[in-house]
Symmetry: C2
Amino acid sequence: MKKLSEQEIESQLTKLSGWEYVDGAIETSFEFKDFKDAFSVMTRIAFECEAQGHHPDWSNVYNSLHIRLNTHDAEGITEKDFKLAQSIEEIIESE
Amino acid sequence: MKKLSEQEIESQLTKLSGWEYVDGAIETSFEFKDFKDAFSVMTRIAFECEAQGHHPDWSNVYNSLHIRLNTHDAEGITEKDFKLAQSIEEIIESE
């Protein structure tokens, strides 16, 4: 999996909403009604991660969820990160 | 819910294994076989949190889980944190 250039990353980011390139990862945050809603969405995302064989660095406090994606093996951002980010957006939008 | 003193916190910590008092929270980390195992345990913990009406500040990267507990309303550590920590230990031990 090829590491994307900064230019490629910035170009891909324009296709997503609310993701930023920060400290070597693309990241975003979401807020939900409460913990149950946040964890329900996390569960749907978890299944998608497992299906894609790609996993986030993510944290949750009550109703908030912070997600960072990068590709350790490539030491940077790859298409895998943008594929998962897109899936995460679709899950959130379907809520 | 009464905020515990440092002495009370240290005393309660001796009843747990692998928890530390760091930066105003009690915290611990666990490693599992893989992401599926880590997220399965998180799901069991999530149900327990919801039942206790108390929620962690937690993060996951692949097979690792980091958990921090404190009580925002009390601006410190309370019995609620130790009750949830105990439940988390029981869930982990039952794996």
